[in-house]
Symmetry: D2
């Protein structure tokens, strides 16, 4: 049996996520990056030279190029919906960073465009490919925990993005919290209602934009489970990422490891080198995610999480974000019912 033909992709965007995606693609022999496209030619060229690909600013040419099988969209959130629609209309498969769009209206248009064009669209929730989270999923589905009763998640980045980035990102719940909210849906099930409160600890000027660098939330799941969630930026004591699922008969926990198994003991305690950020923590997941995208396209199987699934995660994140801003509980259906497709 001969291996499937390699997949040719174009990378759109040349920022931080593009670099992570290009790096992950370098470990996947069956996918080749043909071109890196960015509105700033210098950025595109810089990344392209690191990875030995062509560089361009002309997205139209990419979408018209019959060699390109799929497009990987790593551009800022506000551009997602429009670029998904355009790429789908060009008949190319799509991999897009989360969230699928910055609002429900864009998200619904994107889902419609993808489904109308009959292309595949995978959204970049890389944690779904994290070996620990995947194994947790298998244990839960195998009934090892019995009925699921609770969920706890903490995600705290160790650095502070620029105010400009934060403003464009849609807020803490839409940019960071959405990873844990998607994980909650993946491991426990749909969330019915969320209450979220926030604070500004690191950068006072965030307040004038109604932005938060820290937030905590409680979740009511449709199946009766309860959850807590915490998200933070600029955590002084370092990067945190912890997930716990509580069941009738057992509890699963996975959290940030140290970089190596080395431990240094003194009379003061024990020191080690902690992981510093999501790039390190989800190193394997990023590779597995893009490899799965390629394999599913080559095998003609549906990718996951797809556009419609990811729209639900967006919906939940928007509910959390609204609760954060408004200070009262918000049901997910309130968000879902505002726009009809």
């Amino acid at each position: 049996m001969s291996p499937p033909a390699p997949l040719t992709v174009a990378l759109v965007g040349a920022g931080r996520m593009a670099k992570i995606r290009a790096q992950a693609l370098s470990y996947v022999d069956s996918i080749t990056i043909a071109t890196i496209c960015d509105t700033e030619f210098a950025s595109a060229t810089r990344l392209a030279s690191d990875f030995g690909t062509a560089a361009t600013t002309d997205l139209g040419a990419i979408l018209a190029d019959p060699v390109v099988d799929a497009v990987i969209l790593t551009t800022p959130t506000p551009t997602h919906a429009r670029l998904i629609c355009r790429t789908a209309e060009a008949g190319k498969h799509i991999f897009v960073e989360k969230p699928i769009a910055g609002d429900m209206e864009g998200a619904r248009q994107a889902v419609d465009a993808v489904e109308d064009a009959g292309v595949q669209c995978q959204v970049g929730f890389q944690r779904r490919f994290d070996p620990a989270q995947l194994k947790a999923k298998h244990k839960i589905e195998a009934g090892e925990l019995g009925r699921i009763e609770g969920f706890r998640a903490v995600s705290r980045d160790a650095y502070l993005p620029t105010v400009e980035f934060l403003r464009g990102s849609g807020g803490l719940m839409l940019d960071l919290g959405i990873h844990d909210l998607d994980c909650a849906r993946f491991l426990v099930g749909e969330v019915y209602e969320v209450s979220c409160i926030g604070a500004v600890h690191a950068l006072p000027e965030l307040k004038e934009y109604g932005l938060f660098d820290s937030a905590v939330a409680i979740l009511r799941f449709s199946n009766g489970a309860l959850g807590t969630l915490e998200a933070g930026l600029c955590t002084g004591f370092g990067y945190e990422a912890r997930t716990e699922v509580l069941g009738e008969r057992g509890k699963l926990r996975f959290e940030v490891d140290s970089r190596t198994p080395l431990r240094h003991y003194t009379t003061e305690g024990v020191s080690f080198t902690p992981l510093m950020n999501f790039g390190e923590r989800y190193h394997e997941a990023y590779t597995a995610e893009i490899r799965a995208f390629g394999e599913h396209l080559q095998d003609g199987k549906p990718v996951s999480p797809d556009a419609r699934d990811s729209l639900e995660s967006l919906c939940l994140a928007l509910a959390a974000q609204r609760s954060l801003e408004r200070g009262t509980p918000v049901t997910v259906s309130e968000i879902r019912d505002e726009v009809t497709t």
Copy 2:
């Protein structure tokens, strides 16, 4: 220097907590139990014979006995306020189980009675004497964490009390959650607002009484910190008690240990003997707490937490309980302002 005269106490109540208190007192040479008093003579006698004391049903006689320096009240929550008032009026010092009362009105009367009589009254928040929590307090006060930004607490008992007990206890937040809420006040500071939601997982009949066996909450502290809290009864995977404090420069965590350092490794993982309940977890704290009560009385120094301090913890717990029942955020001042002393 001769040691201070030993303290003579009477134990009122002969249930589960009375046993824990009598056990702890057996490690404290400077305090002697003279009598155990319970409305059921058989219960009083049984416990009295285990610990070599007299037994009675006559509280009046105890309160009139000049040999008795202090009374330890281990009776159900609804009796606390009344018994505190009566004991204070008899001029005896008081140690009472938490919460100081089942409602704000009783609590204010108790505080007034104590202060009017000029006796001392310590409330049984034993975690304030837990070596780990105490050391955390010292680190926070020494500024090792910098500004405090967050708090996380989980307390899950492994068993289910009777419905009758649960009804009398005032609810999950008043009975169990109050320990973590008092800890939040002790380590981080006053809480301004709390949102709490609950579920019934283990015992469906709780629903008809408006009771919950599981709850999660988010907390807004007056100093800007944010918190999450989780409380549960009848946890199938075992007893949990975890506290975390997050600061600008560090994070403190203490949680349930195993019973011994023994670890058993197989190809399946590692097993050990976990602690099973608060009696085991806070073994040292119970002894240190009652020893401190005795020492402060003997030295003529104010006990802690005293009645007024504990009234604030009750106030916070009542806010959490009301939020749990009502489903919306509740400010602590809403509770505090309802009754005026």
Copy 3:
């Protein structure tokens, strides 16, 4: 059923171990210390006043006192054999610090004296009462590990005793190593041969006395298992005590815990308060050990480890000590066969 009559003991010696024993006895209600006896009256008086007992220098009077049921010998190793003989001849039961004697000849005389007098004699291997080691023993006896194949032990004290003490102690293997060697016998079985090498790291003047502050050994057990052992004084990175037993189907490990479950996380790692010495590590064991001594005497059951059992541990320690000094493997039978009782 009435409780057994309390046991009255005399404590002989008023040094470091006497203090640990007196402290442990203070937690055991059924044993009372009548007198503390030391050749230096000031030492005896100081300790006696801390624990509210009489003080004396007159051992003869103690041995003649019909009130005294048993004598606890905490004097230096070279005095053990002689004092055991004298106490046994006086018809008193004996608790003596390890090792039972400083040489085989003394040990055999002590065993003979005890057995001739028909008194009981327990030797102070407190680790046999450590909850972790006991639980390990139960698991091994229950067959949970299958056939036992290996043993590993590390004991490193964090401080350096005086050269004078070290000279009197019989050497590193006789004083410190014997704890792990007794544990090896207790958990795995008899040792056939030992090879031991040593070094001087902390105190160069030890060399002129042929003493070592660090040693490692390998053990061949009669049942085919293999072992490693390490002993050290003056460990710069802190107190260590680790035991591992390897079986066909599993491995047991127990080692030094932290003092509390508190962990302090920063970007550098995690710090905690480690245990500092055997007094802290075996706190519970010391109490359980002396309580068991009392209970066995009161119940008329044989104590354990008794004199004959402890003579075997001494024999093994002397073999290790000889190997350490000579640099070649030494069989335990070589030691055992040199003196015949």
Copy 4:
């Protein structure tokens, strides 16, 4: 600056190690495998088809091929010396599995051949490239531990190789123990004397060949440090690999991690998925090792560990193996002085 020309290698041997090497090479873009060569054509072809290379049985052709820059020797130990000599004489650089030879005579011939030919020869001690071990090395060299006083190593494989393999391997110390002995030299310094004893636990028929499946050893380092070492095959409780270095001021430990950070808690304890073998544990090290080989050749810098360095590790392993067979301490110089180059 253009990247250096890629390196073309031939892989000699098509067994278990060849597969691990080919896999590692697949992550290193700058090295290309041209051919896989094995005396059994079917084996060569099978592996070659997995990795898309040519296959051959003709080593001569490979050595004569000007396209081949270096040869990777993964054949059994007894063939190493002869193949190194032949490859060196053909002017090709060499990467060879440890040990460099099965005896000192072969090893000296190999070193001579390499040095005479002026080619480079790296020996496959992959642990020297393990991130944890490397970081330990840096800390030791930076003086973070102060004077080094001790070393502890445990390596236990979870499976049993064939008796045939074990006979050809030179024994437990030469095949498995040599990894920890090389690590001891790398982290602590040269070893002066070793005492080693062994046992047969899993496969009784090993005894008739004088082979062991378990061994423990003690080490005397030239700098005064002491060490313990344990090696085992067919460990029923799973794969173990632990290294500890003890210094005046601190202790380093690194051991086998779990496969993911997932932990499953029940009332029985906590389970996780342990790593199963050296292939999993040293996954990263194998890639880093072969990448370093390529980079050093391309940069014209000396590789490490080179033939002469690896001869010292062999020498130490042969001393350990002789002690294991003879039952008495063996000095490394005894081995070193038997053959003169």
